[in-house]
Amino acid sequence: MKLDVRGEFVPVALAQLDPGEQIFCEGGLMVYSDPSIQVGVRPFTQGGLGQTMKRTLVGGIPFFMHVYSGPGYAAFSRFSPGEIRTLELPAGQAVDIAEHSLLLATGSVQYDAFYVPGTGRIGRMIGFWMDRLTGPGTVVYHGHGNILGFTLAQGEVVEIDHGALLIKDPTVQLQSFNQPLGGGLTGHAMSFECLKAVGPGKLLIQTLDPTKVHHQTE
C-alpha cells in the first residue's frame, strides 16, 4: 500500500493499492475511491459468540469491518480537524487505539477490541472500548486536534481526560477514577471521570475530544 495524506485541517488518507492488496476500516469513513476497488466485509468474531454479542450489542462495535481490495485508490477521513499518522507494526507487536481514531489498516493486521471499565457512577462513565491491532502490517490513525506524545517510565503516572486518550502501548495500564473538584460533599458531587495511565510504555493523547466534536455538529 502506498499512502498519501492530503489536506491540512481535515486531512484524508489516500491509499493506493496493488492488485489483490487489502485494507480494512470501519464503515462510513471512505471519502472517494477508484471504481476498480472492490468492497467487501470482514466479520469480527474474536472471542466467540459471547464476546461478539458484548461488543456489538453493548459496546456498539460493528460486527463487520469494511474491506477494500486493489487495484486502485481509496481515500478515508474521520471528518474532523486533526493529524493522520501511520504506524508500522512488526509481527507480534500490538498497539491500542481509542474509539473514533482508527482510520485503516492493511489486511495482514489482526484486529481485536477490549473494554476499559469506567467508574461505574450512576449516570456517568460506564467505560469504553479500545481497538487492539497486532502486526505485521501498517496501521493508519487519526488524532483529533493535535497529537502529543509521552514515554512513561515504569510506574510513572499521568492523569488524562478520557476524551484525550489516543494511543497507548499494551504495557500502559489504564484505570478510571473520579477526580473530586475540591473537598467535601460538593467536591465529590462535582467530581469528573479521568483516566490514570501507568507506565511503562508510549502514550499519545489528542487535544480535541471527538465526542464533544460530534456533539457540536449534531
Binding site: 486536534g145 493535535n146 499521568v158 473538584l181 475540591g182 462535582m190 487535544t207 480535541l208
Partner: protein, 240 residues
C-alpha cells in the same frame, strides 16, 4: 504561571506551575495533569462576584457562566484545551491593566488576576411581533498576572491610537483592553441608509452600549456592529 501553546490545529495550553502557585480555569477543560498538581474548586463568590450579579447574568438568558472554577495548585504541569481550532494567546497584565475577553474564550488566569463577568453590549432584533434581546458577555480581567485565552480560527491584533476606530462584527470580537471605547452601531444597506439616515445609532462607550434599552433596535435587516475607539489593543478572531 508559565504558559506555552502546544500543537497547531487545536492547540492546547501547557501550564507549568511552581510549588504553591495557583491558576484558575473553567471547570471541565483539563486535558491531562501530573499527579503532583492539586485540584480544588473556587466559587465566583470567593473571587468577589456576588450571587446576585451572577443570577442577573444568567437571567439574561445566554450567559453560561459557571459558579465554580477549577483551581490548580503546583508544582507540576497541567494542560487545558477548549476543543476548538484557534490561536491561543498568553497575556501578562500589569497592575490595574484591564482586558475584556469575550465569554467562552477564557482558558486560565493567575490567582492574582481579578475576574468579573460582565455585559459588554446588548441589542434587540425583531422577527414579526417577536423581539429577541442579544448580549455580548465578557470576562473582565484586571492585572497583575497572566491570562490565557483562545480565539476561534486566527487571532488578529490591532494597536489603536487615541481616537482611532476599527469596526468589527459582534461575532468577530475576541478581546479589548479596558481603555478602548465600545459603541454598538448598525450597518444598514444602501436603501435603508437613505430611509434611516445612515448608521449612527449607538451609545457613547461601554455604558452607552449597556444603556441601550429593549425596543431600541436598529432598522430592519440591518446588522449590529461594534465600533471600537482607541487607545488600546483590540483582538478579533477569524473563525467566529
Amino acid at each position: 504561571m508559565r504558559a506555552d501553546t502546544v500543537g497547531g490545529i487545536t492547540p492546547a495550553i501547557l501550564l507549568t506551575l511552581n510549588t504553591g502557585e495557583k491558576v484558575l480555569s473553567e471547570h471541565g477543560i483539563m486535558l491531562y495533569m501530573e499527579p503532583t498538581v492539586k485540584l480544588n474548586r473556587r466559587t465566583q463568590k470567593s473571587l468577589g462576584v456576588s450571587r446576585s450579579h451572577l443570577m442577573g447574568m444568567h437571567a439574561r438568558g445566554d450567559s453560561e457562566e459557571s459558579y465554580y472554577f477549577a483551581e490548580f495548585t503546583g508544582p507540576g504541569h497541567v494542560t487545558l484545551s477548549r476543543d476548538k481550532g484557534g490561536d491561543a494567546r498568553i497575556q501578562h497584565l500589569n497592575p490595574q491593566q484591564g482586558l475584556r475577553i469575550k465569554s467562552g474564550h477564557l482558558v486560565a488566569f493567575d490567582e492574582s488576576v481579578r475576574y468579573f463577568p460582565n455585559v459588554l453590549a446588548q441589542w434587540v432584533t425583531y422577527n414579526g411581533d417577536d423581539q429577541e434581546v442579544h448580549y455580548i458577555f465578557v470576562d473582565d480581567m484586571t492585572g497583575p498576572g497572566g491570562v490565557v485565552f483562545q480565539g476561534h480560527g486566527n487571532v488578529l491584533s490591532f494597536q489603536l491610537r487615541p481616537g482611532e476606530m476599527i469596526r468589527t462584527t459582534v461575532h468577530g470580537l475576541l478581546a479589548v483592553e479596558n481603555t478602548v471605547t465600545v459603541n454598538l452601531n448598525w450597518l444598514v444597506g444602501m436603501q435603508m441608509n437613505t430611509v434611516f439616515g445612515g448608521a449612527g445609532f449607538g451609545g457613547g462607550g461601554l455604558m452607552g452600549a449597556m444603556m441601550m434599552q429593549q425596543g431600541q433596535a436598529g432598522p430592519g435587516n440591518s446588522q449590529p456592529v461594534l465600533d471600537l475607539v482607541g487607545p488600546g489593543v483590540v483582538m478579533v478572531n477569524s473563525g467566529a
